[in-house]
């Protein structure tokens, strides 16, 4: 009986916290569903819209190319994921498994990158991106590449996959060497399939990170055709600041894809395997 009461207490706290986590978004949704005739500043506030309508959604989709933003965000995030997985796995393998000259230097060079936040070097990165012509004023492809390349690989990914390679018993590799496989065959056919769970973790967290990234795209983008969701929604919020119904509708539309992605892959987020993906 005592345990029951304690559990009820726990549930009450957790339900309260869950409500707090949802209220900002629910209030946005409520505002987005209110029609023109309804005062969105009503006192006291009205949660269930009286003049219930989807017009704000229709209008914002007509005024702002949100679907285009979604496609752009997807292109950037998916490419960033593919590059991260390939480059991190390639670099992680020798760091975990091979002995070579300069291994320590390579290791500490990569480790050093963790200590330097992107924000402190973004200005020269921008200058270099301009010099490499990876800007949307040259071409659409260049614009995408400019958004993707600075995030194509990072130390967290390399170390995450290195940890995974380290857990594979050496004997497996040794028997493959005896069978006459070379390093590349061992890597692609044998080891890479064995670290799939870590690759999945890296892919998912890179996707979420890239999807939400605002600072860098807002610096490099000039062409509205290439706006990603965060940049587009921020732009929308300043352009329509006088009409919060539209801002709210646009914001709600923009979170639908990532929420679906999250719910579909939720087991990766809540299984407790996130520890490896800790970022500084």
């Amino acid at each position: 009986m005592k345990i029951r009461i304690k559990n009820i207490f726990t549930h009450i706290i957790l339900i309260f916290i869950c409500l707090l986590s949802l209220i900002p978004f629910l209030w946005l949704l409520s505002t987005a569903l209110k029609g023109r005739s309804e005062n969105i500043f009503a006192y006291p506030p009205v949660f269930i819209p009286k003049d219930f309508t989807f017009d704000n959604f229709k209008e914002v989709l007509k005024l702002v190319p949100i679907i285009r933003y979604v496609i752009n965000s997807f292109i950037v995030a998916a490419s960033t994921v593919v590059l991260n997985v390939i480059l991190s796995a390639l670099a992680a393998y020798p760091l975990a498994r091979m002995e070579f000259k300069g291994k320590k230097i390579a290791f500490f060079a990569i480790l050093a990158t963790i200590m330097v936040p992107f924000q402190t070097i973004m200005l020269p990165i921008y200058i270099i991106t301009l010099k490499l012509h990876l800007i949307d004023s040259y071409s659409i492809t260049a614009g995408y590449l400019g958004m993707i390349m600075p995030f194509a690989v990072n130390a967290f990914g390399i170390f995450l996959l290195r940890q995974a390679f380290l857990t594979i018993p050496k004997e497996i590799e040794e028997s493959a060497v005896i069978d006459g496989c070379n390093s590349f065959q061992i890597f692609f056919k044998l080891l890479l399939p064995m670290i799939k769970p870590s690759v999945a973790l890296l892919a998912i967290f890179t996707f979420i990170g890239s999807w939400g990234e605002f600072l860098w795209p807002s610096i490099v983008l000039t062409n509205e055709k290439l706006f990603t969701l965060p940049v587009g929604i921020n732009n929308l919020s300043s352009a329509f600041s006088s009409d919060y119904r539209l801002v709210a509708a646009g914001s709600i539309v923009s979170i639908i894809p990532i929420v679906i992605f999250f719910l579909a892959l939720q087991k990766y987020f809540i299984s407790g395997s996130t520890e490896g993906a800790v970022k500084g």
């Binding site: 726990t10 506030p45 330097v116 924000q119 973004m122 200005l123 939720q266 996130t274 970022k279």
Partner: protein, 289 residues
């Protein structure tokens, strides 16, 4: 054979190193290099002034204010982000129903773009918005969440905390899984229950994780930008202007590349203290050669 082995390793490392060279190492040294030049007269022919940008920054009341603001923000967020997610993780880690639903909902703000979270809060913070309604309902005067310079930074910190709680809760949850059940049983035999049990067993056991969460939440607090950019643009009266915001403004709005870079180098030194602690103390197993 030896040479062949070396070349193989280098080929594997090469693609990642090219990217890191172009988008990390060169920009890193360029930041330091640029910080020695003055761009204020002519952006195309900067003057070499060595450390004068640093001297100017240290003398600048605005820059000192951004340093103060950044640490004020850190102090507002970090204790909350270290303690509250741990409390939640301990609650959820019990043998209760609907565990996963709670985890999913509390994690939701983590995956939603900070831009949307900031827009949602801007709406809650509106002068006649939802939050002020509740404040007035409780009998207080309405608050200028984003317009009162005394309050604005707290309002920004609330957004950061809101977005971060789920993330740190998951880190704690994975740490809690590693606490051996026998320890709890032993504590129960000794008569410890509930709160005391956690103070005796859980906290000491996951101390390294608490330390890690402290440093990573500090590092991300020092880098705060988007919440501020979307909600206040550093205002009112520079009350939410942080170091990164200052760097951004100098670099991309005033085109004063020298001052921006000097500010960046100073931020780099501040962040590095925390990172070194992380890498060589709290996470040293992960980063062993």
């Amino acid at each position: 054979m030896d040479l062949k082995k070396n070349i193989g390793a280098y080929l594997f490392l090469l693609p990642a190193f090219i990217v890191l060279l172009v988008f990390f190492f060169i920009p890193f040294f360029q930041t330091i290099w640029l910080s020695f030049f003055s761009y204020s007269k002519d952006i195309y022919s900067p003057d070499f002034i060595f450390l004068n940008n640093y001297i100017e920054l240290i003398k600048s009341p605005l820059f000192l204010k951004t340093i103060f603001n950044t640490f004020y923000f850190l102090i507002l967020c970090v204790p909350f982000l270290v303690i509250f997610p741990l409390f939640l993780a301990i609650l959820i880690n019990q043998n209760i129903k609907c565990k996963n639903i709670y985890k999913i909902i509390i994690y939701l703000p983590v995956i939603i773009s900070i831009v949307v979270v900031a827009i949602a809060f801007k709406w809650l913070y509106a002068p006649s918005g939802l939050l002020n309604f509740f404040i007035e309902k409780m009998g207080f005067n309405s608050i200028g969440w984003l317009s009162d310079p005394k309050i604005s930074m707290i309002s920004v910190a609330i957004v950061t905390i809101f977005k971060g709680v789920g993330y740190y809760m998951m880190i704690y949850l994975s740490a809690l899984m590693s606490v051996p059940k026998e320890l709890y049983e032993a504590a129960e035999v000794d008569g410890a229950t509930g709160f005391k049990k956690h103070m005796l067993v859980t906290i000491p056991h996951i101390m390294p994780m608490i330390a890690l969460v402290s440093t990573i939440s500090s590092i991300s607090a020092l880098k705060v930008f988007v919440e501020i950019y979307v909600m206040t643009r550093g205002g009112p009266l520079d009350s939410t202007k942080t170091i990164v915001y200052y760097i951004y403004e100098k670099a991309f709005e005033n085109l004063d590349l020298g001052l921006a870079s000097a500010g960046a180098v100073i931020l780099l030194f501040i962040v590095m203290g925390f990172s070194i602690l992380n890498i060589f103390v709290f996470e040293k197993d992960k980063y062993k050669v």
